[in-house]
Symmetry: C2
Subunit: 169 residues, 2 copies
């Protein structure tokens, strides 16, 4: 792999805004950023081969273990959103993906999301299962190079109210 | 305030599951956990006084800056969910809330969420604004005692794939 991130390593998903997703504040309700990310991940799953045919054949799918959203700008009902999805890390069973939401109206990201996904075989008791070789190789080939990964953000961190040190304290 | 957390310090919101929220994996889609949390926060806002009348009178409301969801159990369309909301921290303009989703079918939490919310005055340029005294005092009185706050979890942290140290490495 080349150390520079080829643009095609980012999977792209486009969507408009359903007017029903706008809340009493006149902008996209926080949870619907998550729904757009969820649909983008469905599209990404098709892209890497965890699609409907694969799920039916193997009873394997992806479960979300965690999702962390950063809200950076308000989204209006007229916006057309682009969601870029990057593979930030992957091991035998898990993928750490990053999503970046943009639109032509606003410079920079509208929001970012980190998700931790696990490959699970469904059944009476769903259990984590290793990716088959072809999908594992595809994920490794899509993994963002270290430099691009470090520049991706804002990334997930611990949510807390940070207080400025007071003068003299 | 008593050092032990009185049960009434947790605001409770109840909801069933809309069948449209179930995805191809046969369980509640990840983003709809976020929608349930979002509705629970609306209910919590009414509870602390940031309600529709307040928003109309002051043009102030709460914006979500971050949301971090932990998915611990699958939710089915027959489940009745209870969302407990706790004030984990608060300063002049911000609230760090924790939500815990439970249902009678499953022991322990189905999911937890951390949210960082900011009090914002809307206008041409929305800007962070201090809470009025009465709401600020209500938030401080609702703040979970340190011991209960420490026991609340799983709490937000940095999302990453953690690798076990290999024997001999």
């Amino acid at each position: 792999m080349n150390a520079a991130a080829p643009p095609q390593s980012l999977h792209s998903y486009r969507t408009g805004i359903d007017p029903a997703w706008i809340d009493y504040n006149g902008h996209l309700r926080d949870a619907y950023y998550g729904l757009i990310v969820s649909y983008a991940i469905d599209d990404f799953m098709d892209h890497v081969g965890v699609d409907a045919a694969y799920r039916t054949r193997t009873r394997c799918t992806l479960y979300t273990l965690e999702m962390h959203l950063h809200y950076l700008h308000e989204v209006k009902d007229t916006d057309q959103l682009d969601v870029a999805t990057a593979v930030l890390d992957a091991d035998a069973k898990r993928i750490h993906v990053g999503c970046r939401l943009t639109c032509p109206r606003v410079k920079g990201a509208l929001a970012t999301a980190d998700l931790l996904l696990m490959h699970v075989q469904q059944g009476d008791v769903p259990a984590g299962a290793p990716f088959p070789d072809d999908i594992a190789q595809r994920l490794q080939s899509l993994k963002l190079p270290a430099e691009a990964s470090a520049a991706w953000g804002p990334r997930s961190h611990t949510i807390e109210i940070k207080r400025r040190a007071r003068p003299g304290s």
